[in-house]
């Protein structure tokens, strides 16, 4: 971390390409908001397996605002990786997820980071695509349905659920649903960015926030 003091009155990101104190705090606060939005949908995911599978898409649709605002405030490499890392770390530390989420999050964040770098951080299109890719990170949550499928089926069968239920579970955890999950997440991510942009234009630009 650079030593020089970088307090500025403007809401823009501080100079240079190294993350400084104010960037880190911006990342922290917007990550908190992102996490809260996501957590609400994760709780909904417990209600029905189909909701769980499409939870990443719902997240992506509604969590665009904190992400895009963070992108506007911190135009430097590393911001997205830190955001994803914190989300995955909180979920992991509270014991709510498997290590799969860490792997998915890391992969998605690095891809999003590369996209942002290619578009030079300020472009709207670049940030939008980066956000859509970033959404894949949360796909690590329902992913055990596929990866640990046998373990799931074995236990549900052992607990005595009927064959009909197992058949419907098998029909849910197929390759087409897996592809549908990723596709829905990506499209919802792009839609989420447009919602965010609408709000930006209507309120935040006027207020001089971005």
């Amino acid at each position: 971390m650079a030593t020089q003091v970088a307090v500025k009155a403007s809401p823009r990101s501080s100079e240079g390409k190294v993350l400084k104190g104010r960037d880190l705090i911006n990342i922290g606060i917007f990550t908190a908001i992102y996490f809260i939005i996501q957590f609400v949908f994760m709780l909904c995911g417990g209600i029905h397996p189909a909701l769980w599978v499409f939870m990443p898409a719902l997240d992506a649709l509604f969590a665009g605002i904190p992400f895009m605002l963070m992108c506007a405030k911190v135009q430097k490499p590393g911001a997205i990786v830190i955001m994803g890392l914190i989300v995955a770390l909180i979920y992991y530390v509270t014991g709510m997820f498997t290590p799969l989420i860490l792997v998915m999050m890391a992969g998605a964040c690095i891809m999003a980071e590369v996209i942002r770098a290619v578009f030079r951080y300020t472009s709207f299109v670049g940030n939008a695509v980066a956000y859509a890719v970033f959404g894949f990170g949360m796909c690590g949550s329902p992913l055990p349905l596929w990866v640990f499928h046998d373990s799931f089926v074995a236990q549900i069968a052992e607990q005595g659920m009927g064959a009909g239920y197992l058949a419907s579970l098998n029909s849910l955890a197929t390759t087409p649903t897996l592809i549908a999950m990723f596709a829905a997440t990506f499209v919802a991510g792009l839609a989420g960015v447009y919602i965010a942009r609408g709000l930006f234009k209507k309120h935040f630009v006027k207020a001089g926030l971005v």
């Binding site: 990342i27 917007f30 605002l69 955001m83 014991g95 709510m96 997820f97």
Partner: protein, 252 residues
């Protein structure tokens, strides 16, 4: 950067820890007190075991072991609650859903099965959260060589949650005063929230800069973190349990 959150009014998640000495918190609730790193190790072991096949008795033994650990750390109620929770979960999955069925069975079976699989992770996670303040957790992560670029935002995120709660209830109060149509509720909630978050970020970063967040030197803390014999024993037992479950396949 240790206590910068408490400085700005916004992120004042007050940690009400009794301070028995001037320097360093003596951290003891139950018969044993564990270093946060040990609990993280247990959590890691639990996540390794989560998707290995295990028999009912092995599973029960593991749940009891972690519950015992919670109780020994002084969290009696947490241990009892998780024990009861596990029994309820087991009863629902094995008795209620297959034999009674109905809509609830099709809806909740996957979710409950998943909860049962990650139950040990939930227990270890609850212990970690119950045992450590944000401050202690950060200190432990710093000892584990987690870089400052991750630690600073992580601390800010965790300390922002209580602030968010206050902020949300203020906005809800303000919305109740004025009759807001249902279609505009979400927008009317999110916009002021984002505004206040942005202001908080600005204030906090000014305060933190004054307190030397840009200082590249390693920061010090008042937590007395030391891995003791108890910690090594718990870690060894956790590793042993993982190896045993992996080798025997939980066949018992």
């Amino acid at each position: 950067m240790r206590s910068k959150g408490a400085s700005a009014s916004a992120a004042g998640a007050a940690e009400a820890e009794p301070r028995e000495r001037v320097l360093g918190n003596v951290h003891k609730r139950g018969p044993i007190s564990l270093d946060p790193r040990t609990v993280m190790g247990v959590l890691f072991a639990a996540s390794l075991v989560a998707f290995m096949p295990k028999g009912l008795y092995v599973e029960l033994a593991l749940v009891l072991a972690v519950a015992l650990l919670q109780a020994l750390c002084g969290h009696w109620r947490m241990a009892l609650a998780f024990g009861g929770f596990y029994m309820a979960l087991w009863a629902a999955l094995n008795v209620l859903f297959p034999h009674v069925g109905g809509v609830a069975a099709t809806m909740f079976t996957i979710g409950f099965t998943f909860s049962r699989k990650i139950f040990l992770c939930l227990m270890a996670g609850a212990l970690l959260v119950g045992e450590c303040s944000v401050h202690r957790l950060t200190a432990a992560l710093q000892r584990l060589r987690v870089p400052q670029v991750v630690l600073v935002p992580l601390t800010v995120t965790m300390r922002y949650f209580p602030t968010f709660k206050d902020e949300a209830s203020h906005i809800r109060d303000a919305m109740r005063l004025r009759d807001i149509p249902l279609s505009e509720r979400v927008e009317c909630f999110i916009v002021p929230l984002i505004m206040s978050a942005t202001n908080t970020a600005d204030e906090l970063s000014r305060a933190a800069t004054c307190r030397g967040i840009e200082n590249p030197a390693l920061s010090t803390d008042t937590e007395r973190l030391r891995i003791q014999a108890v910690d090594w024993a718990v870690l060894a037992l956790a590793a042993l349990a993982v190896v045993a479950v992996a080798l025997t396949g939980g066949a018992l």
